[in-house]
């Protein structure tokens, strides 16, 4: 029973950590708009956490620049299990227009397993909410698998 309760909790209260790895801020603004009154992701329990220790879902936006690579890897390591990595926008998937730049070391799946990728440049808030909902499902399976 307790396990079920915890699962319910995990389903209802995913906390996000947003990491910007050299994004143009387009995706960041869309992510912020998700928690504004219009979309209000808090009704599903989403909350932006201040530190990786509190996070369940890590949201990464931007191609991985060489400056941010190390920081990204370190921060990802500091998130407690179970955790899910979500990439927002095209940049973490393919480096988008930054592809081939000397200072870009993306894409993101070189450094960690990406569970959900939300496409778009930038993706719409609805798409982000949808992606986050999928991430919650994956979080639940990960918790069960433990």
């Amino acid at each position: 029973m307790f396990k079920k309760l915890i699962e319910k909790g995990i389903e209802k209260s995913p906390w996000l950590l947003h990491i910007n790895t050299g994004s143009c801020n387009g995706c960041d603004i869309e992510l912020v708009s998700v928690i504004t009154p219009r979309y209000d992701a808090e009704r599903m329990g989403f909350k932006l956490a201040g530190t990786p220790r509190h996070a369940d879902i890590v949201v990464v936006s931007g191609p991985i620049t060489s400056q941010s690579k190390e920081r990204l890897v370190r921060t990802l390591a500091q998130v407690p299990d179970p955790k899910v990595v979500v990439s927002i926008g095209s940049c973490p998937r393919s480096c988008n227009v930054f592809h081939g730049s000397y200072s870009v070391e993306g894409p993101l799946d070189r450094y960690c397993d990406v569970d959900v990728s939300i496409a778009g440049c930038p993706p719409k808030p609805e798409a982000i909410i949808d992606g986050l909902a999928k991430a919650v499902e994956i979080l639940k399976t990960k918790r069960r698998g433990k």
Binding site: L5, I6, E7, K8, G9, I10, K12, S13, P14, P37, D40, E42, R43, M44, G45, L48, A49, G50, T51, R53, H54, D56, Q78, P80, D81, P82, R143
Partner: protein, 321 residues
Amino acid sequence: MNNILQFLFYILIFPGFAFCVVAGLLIAGIDRKLVARMQKRIGPPILQPTYDFLKLLGKETIIPRHAARKVYLAAPVVGLLSLVTVSLFIPIFNFSIFDKPVADLIVIIYLLTIPGVALIIGGSASGSPYAGVGISREMVAILSYELPLVIVLLTIGRKVGMALDGNITFSLKAIVDYQAQYGPMIAQWSMIPAAIALLLVIPCKVGSLPFDIAEAEIEICEGPLVEYSGPPLGIFKLNHAIKMFIMTSLFVTLFLSGAGTNFVALNVLIQFALAVVVTFISISVLKAITARLRVEQTFKFYWTYPTALALLSLVLVWLGL
């Protein structure tokens, strides 16, 4: 044997552990919902803090390399225990688990300091510099609100003591008796400034906006909580919720109490409803309309306006009004 069972019931179920947890989580959820509605959002379900707590129980706990392990893990539990203990001492209308007055207000002041101290010690033990900044802010916050809080409580002691037997009283039971006899404390107009001062103290005591300087997640990554994860973090969040309930409940007992009805359950419901109202006035509204203050602004604020209000009340009471 019967006695012990009864005592265990008090401690574990009502008004101790279980009741505290349920009431605290509910009141925290209501607060979040209220704030959301005031900001034209739908807001999280009322059970959201419960879900958060349950989820955190299922997460992994990471102990940083620089942390002092035992203190780090013990701090939240100690805070929770002291909060539960406080809840045993607060009478709910005429219901009090102790026959004779056990806890004075001063005991409660000190016991209510322990969760704050636990947060500080825990954060300090985590070894993070963010936590270092956070604990310094938390401590200044404690220093700030303690002055008006103390004056308010002394005022109430003087008021009740003068009416009852001319002696000083810090007994909560005597305060409730007084209110049963003379009507709620808030109806005494000399006590209104003190009530306002206490209402202003509550947000800082529970660490909500605009006084959540210690746990500012944007500036200092939630301050003392920065390194906490999993169950200990959950217990800290639970502490926060219970503290909210206990502070508002204490306000109700101090200012809005009275004889109550003959049914304990009904009394509890009334107390809870009043606590929700107090939460709305003192925590939710402020949270919805203000931005975070700086630490020295907080200090200045508390040592001027609430202190002045509380002192005004003390002077009025001293003059026999």
